[in-house]
Amino acid sequence: MKDQKEVILFWLAASKSFDKKLLATRTGIHRKKKTYLKHPYFCLLGEPEPIPLSQVTTHKRPPLPIPTQSPLLSPSHLLPHSPVTAEHNGSQRRSFPSPACRHRWLLCLVPAPSVSAESACLCFLAVLSSVSASLAVAVVDGASALLAPSLLAGGLPLQPQPVAVFLLLLLQCGMATTRTRVSSFSHNVSSLKSSQHPGLKNGPNGTTFVSSGISDLDKILGGGFSLGSLVMIMEDAEAPHHMLLLRNFMSQGLLHRQPLLYASPSKDPRAFLGTLPSPGSSKDDTSHKPSHEKDLRIAWQYKKYFGEPQLNINTNNGGHHDYCNDLDLRKPLERHFFTSNNVDCVSIQNSPNLDALKDRCAEFLAQFSRNEGSISSAGRIAIQSFCSPQCKYSDMEWHMLSFIRSLKGMARSSNVVVVVTFPPSLLSPSCSKRLQHMADTLLSVRAIPDEDKELAKLLTGYQDMVGLLNVHKVARLNTQVPVILDATTFSIKLQKRRFLVFECLNQAPVDGSGGSSYGNSGVCSTSTKAGPLDF
């Protein structure tokens, strides 16, 4: 099919530094920064001057077979079962380097590390490869995702719908927008502007953190929740600990004047705002953190000659200027924080599907779209009990999955953190696995049995524990180096019944008198049965 229009599919995903005028110049792509190449799964296909694949780093997949005779990597190499015929292969190769060819296509694929995204991309490739006139243009960019179908409809002889669907899926595969950097190995964020907002903190690789409201959780996650990430918390059907996490998250956002969108399956979500915690009073702080001694206590015989050491001045000058406040769960947040316009509550109980929620989220996220400049403000979205059984859509699993997928894609290009809690036991195993894979940061809370003598013998501080927190995945945007924590299970404690603390699990001193306890602790390394504490 000879279509005169030359249409280029191009994905402005990997680097915001890609100029729109690249589209005009065919060879311009090489002059731009090759940061996108460092992204995994990046394949540049159908290019006038090919970029050798050796520059591409793949992380999880085995290395793609590089055809030696032709620099073009045809999509058939990627597809395990693509029905591409030989002549079709040949026609693509023929069409590749000649500048006179009208059927040029350029495909940049940057899928996110999630299983279903890959399959979507592969399907898209299958579609493209089976089309002889392989023409597709989409300027696929987070904010202007809607351009794609309209452009496509004009350009392609195909039905726009399936390809548009694939394109939409592609663009929702998560676009890591990086800041302009000289090389990909710069670990220090050199263009460090000390953030003008106390609620934001610069993180590695050009990301920005917001606090989760719990200082221990911030420490575990390496700074907080990254802006643009999707945090999913798996609930336990028997314990309401996810509400504690959500409360702290929402309250911290309100304290930093970050707008909040809250959705819950109850009839009156606004009522939940009354239970948000407030920062603890400052006189509690000094007793709360006694271990922050700056200097070691050294017994030095000549210390007396050097006068008195300076007293550490406590720089904790009031709750509102801290990155993370100590939130007192017993003290409700002052009303003026959430009666202002920056809190929006949605009830998802009666809506037959998630489209209304998606629209609300889209308009919320549109206020915070990311651009090259500094971050003016950040927002937070909290969705509680996303698939609880009283919602009418709770058996429409693919609908829920696609909602989360689109939410993740919209969030990735904006300065918002999205926290979603869901009970995995109420979903089919495949759906819950998919949701878990979609998360950037995955946490789960679990209940512990009450008055369990075995547990009390095994762990210190069992009396104060209310539950367990597992950290399954920590978001790392713009990098492929994963975070490996040395401990992934933490106990949730309420210090003085007010402050939420996460602590590492500590073994109780082994009782020397009872001979059987050693036998029990010998089971430590070989967990034969999957008990409630199976990590």
């Binding site: 059907a237 028997e238 209940a447 049995p449 089971v523 999957a530 409630p532």
Partner: protein, 368 residues
Amino acid sequence: MAESVCRSLRDGALEGELAPALTIKDSLSSPFGFNVFSHILVQLSSHIVAGKSQSRGMVIVSLSRSPSSYTGLLKMNEVDVESSKKWIHILDCYTDPLGWKDKTRKSGDIMDPSNQILSSYKTVKDVNKLFSVICDLGRGLVGENKSRFCVAIDSLSELLRHSSMQSVASLLSNLRSHDQISSIFGLLHSDLHEERALAAVEYTSSIVASVDPFHHSVDGQGSYIRNSSEPNLTKGKLNVRSKRRNGRVRVTCEEFKVGPSGISFAPVSAVDGAAVAGLIPKVQFNLQLSEKELVDRSRVVLPFEHQGNGKPIQIYDGRRSLEESNNETTPISGGKKEESGRGEIIYFRDSDDEMPDSDEDPDDDLDI
């Protein structure tokens, strides 16, 4: 413990919290769910009549048994049925749940004799209407003020059969969050439903009591053979998981025995099976200090730390103490010893440019 379950249902809901909801789960291998249900019903009724419970009335939604069986049950257990119109109301969804009799009735209205504690309900499929009818009945019983009533749903399985899981779950959660409802309990047959429906009902309820066969064996095949050879028709185990307010789960187990007079509960006789298994592989030793330990640590006086505590620092350096040498303007050139009167070594320095402390015993400086 069945007693604690009854007690928590009796105490009901606190202000601003969801009402406790009990789900009794049984299965074919031990089909005593209704016995447990009726036991709890009777207990709660007696509490209501005696005025000991938070709820002042009870609404029974009877789907799987006829309403007269409930009145018979109450009479048998000597609960005061005479005054029953004041505190109990039975919603009859048993005789004609889908309204077929109305459709097939051609002429004449054979109305049931108006029974004051009975009202019939014809559209089980409409769960919203069921909710509103329950609320109206309950309000009719206890009045518009703050008093509460409790709801007993005879068979959630029947309800799940007629309508979808979402609507039943929303009914339960709406009931729980209703201001005037103090507690809910319902019966469910676990082998009639899918996993997800069971999980959804368990999710929305706060106490789950599962009626299990007496010998709970690990091997599935073995249990079938064993059960068929010695069917235990009278005994069983009641495993209760109740969600406490602080987030912990209380797990209790009890044996029960069903007899002609009813059901009786007894604590578990023998410790059966393993308790907590799967111990933690990566438990660390506690390297943190508790607050008391920190305070104690800060109180320990280290060797040199009591210097300058008010007393002048006594350093025996053979010449003078530091304060005295500071007071002087001229530097100490020669060695001079204090007279003390006892046998001492008198030492005169050889030269002035010797390092002052080089020939001293360095340990003289110690001020431990």
